[in-house]
């Protein structure tokens, strides 16, 4: 069976700034993976490469055996760290857009999610508060029955109550045979849902390990380990 997501010596730079260097990793199906790193460590670049929004300067990326492109975009549901809906859209129109372009869109699931997230189809998306926009973004991403969900900072910039609600929605609505990669630097709030974590620093991969393994080997939580690792920077 093809690996869900595979990076092979992937590097990416923006001008002189190196965003990722020589990243090699793989993600298997049925996992919730935390992609951890401080601001500017390369998390978003890694996500955008996997989502097919950017091309690596070197190395290979495969999603279910496909190079990033039309086939991979049909299998990946990406929640970017900024609104993916257009300013003129209502919540309903944003969902209709997803339905029109993605064959794996699940209308029943999207209605359940709207209800869970307390969103109304008639609301203008750009007029929603930041927390509600995050909820809409998550609804757009999870309303699909995708093989791989890439969620870039889904809880960044929202209050703790909204955070819990978003995490509950994530656990409730993701497809169990799919994998979810969640990028964040707010680990304490979210580590309870991770099966494994990937840590990157200054564009390089520091570690990829099972959460249980980290706890058993070091006797620390992921949050504690993260603070230790990144305190050295």
């Amino acid at each position: 069976m093809a690996r869900l997501l595979e990076f092979e010596s992937v590097s990416k730079a923006y001008g002189k700034k190196i965003a990722l260097q020589q990243i090699t990793m793989a993600i298997e199906p049925g996992r919730i993976v935390g992609l951890l790193g401080s601001n500017g460590s390369g998390k978003s670049t890694l996500m955008r490469l996997a989502a097919g929004l950017e091309h690596p300067d070197a190395g290979k990326i495969r999603i279910l055996g496909h190079l990033p492109g039309q086939a991979s975009k049909a299998a990946v549901s990406f929640m970017p760290d900024r609104p993916q809906f257009e300013k003129w859209m209502t919540v309903g129109e944003a969902l209709d857009f997803q339905r029109d372009f993605f064959n794996d869109f699940d209308a029943t699931k999207s209605e359940r999610m709207l209800d869970f997230m307390k969103l109304s189809r008639r609301d203008k998306a750009s007029a929603l508060s930041k927390g509600m926009q995050e909820r809409l973004q998550l609804t757009l991403a999870l309303s699909r029955r995708a093989s791989l969900y890439l969620l870039d900072e889904p809880i960044g910039g929202v209050d703790p109550v909204a955070r819990d609600h978003i995490l509950d929605a994530l656990v409730e609505f993701y497809e169990e045979d799919s994998s979810v990669v969640v990028s964040t630097h707010l680990i304490a709030d979210i580590e309870r849902i991770f099966d494994e974590v990937i840590m990157i620093r200054e564009g390089s991969l520091l570690l990829q390990r099972e959460v249980e393994q980290i706890r058993m080997e070091s006797g620390k939580s992921v949050d504690q380990l993260f603070k230790e690792v990144y305190a050295e920077c």
């Binding site: 097919g52 929004l53 975009k73 970017p80 993916q84 257009e86 129109e93 029109d100």
Partner: protein, 252 residues
């Protein structure tokens, strides 16, 4: 492609309706106010034609802006469609809007014909039609306008994609220079190889003075090589545009 077009139209709905209303009101104002202030028929016709040209330019701007938004938008770029679809939907959008403009223009001509204004213009020599093609005149004019706008759009979309691929200041100036440069180059090639028998939109229309316009024509045989040249050029522009979207355009 059609789905992208659907969302382009939904996004621009109010602008499009407002633009159409402004054009119709403008034409009515030229007609009614022109009569009241005693403006010559020829001058009114030229003014109306200038109105159509102005709206033709606005259509190009609207389509380019829509294309630019689409290739930069994360939501649009995540959909499982090849980059050719973005170019295709923009070209269809341009065709559709120009088609609407042509329909309004056609109705305007029908009004001129029904009220005898067209005959008056022809008799006074302010408006001359020398159409010796086997293609019916309305169809021929539509073809020239639509193909011309399509060709120009492929060039403009290429320049938009170039502009969105650059990461430094002054890219707008570079884009303007690119439009002028490529246009001059294309025209120079057409002049050298096809004796200036280009098929660009409105090359057949000439405004001689403030109140005179002519509509000369060239035979189909004379413009066919130029048309084929433009077809190859627009395919080349589209190919480069797709490559740029795939490799260089930065998604916001």
């Amino acid at each position: 492609m059609l789905k992208l077009l659907k969302y382009d139209m939904k996004r621009d709905l109010f602008t499009l309706l407002g633009g159409a209303a402004a054009l119709v009101l403008g034409l009515l104002a030229i007609e009614l106010l022109g009569k009241q202030v005693g403006m010559e028929r020829g001058a009114q016709a030229v003014l109306s034609l200038m109105g159509y040209t102005f709206f033709g330019i606005l259509i190009l701007i609207a389509v380019c802006n829509s294309f630019r938004l689409n290739i930069r938008s994360v939501g649009r770029r995540l959909v499982p469609l090849g980059s050719l679809h973005y170019v295709g939907s923009a070209l269809l959008y341009g065709l559709l809007l120009n088609g609407v403009l042509l329909v309004i223009g056609g109705l305007h001509m029908l009004y001129y014909q029904a009220t005898g204004i067209l005959q008056q213009l022809e008799q006074s020599g302010s408006f001359t039609i020398n159409w010796d093609s086997s293609i019916p005149l309305p169809f021929g004019v539509s073809l020239i306008v639509l193909w011309g706008s399509l060709f120009l759009l492929t060039l403009l979309l290429l320049v938009m994609a170039m502009m969105e691929s650059m990461r430094f200041k002054g890219r707008t100036l570079i884009a303007v220079a690119a439009v002028i440069g490529i246009s001059i180059l294309t025209s120079a090639v057409e002049n050298s190889f096809f004796g200036g028998a280009g098929t660009q939109a409105l090359t057949g229309f000439q405004i001689e003075s403030q109140s005179e316009l002519n509509l000369p024509t060239e035979s189909l045989g004379a413009v066919l090589p130029a048309f084929l040249f433009e077809l190859v050029m627009s395919a080349l522009f589209t190919w480069v545009t797709v490559k740029l979207i795939n490799r260089s355009v930065r998604v916001e």
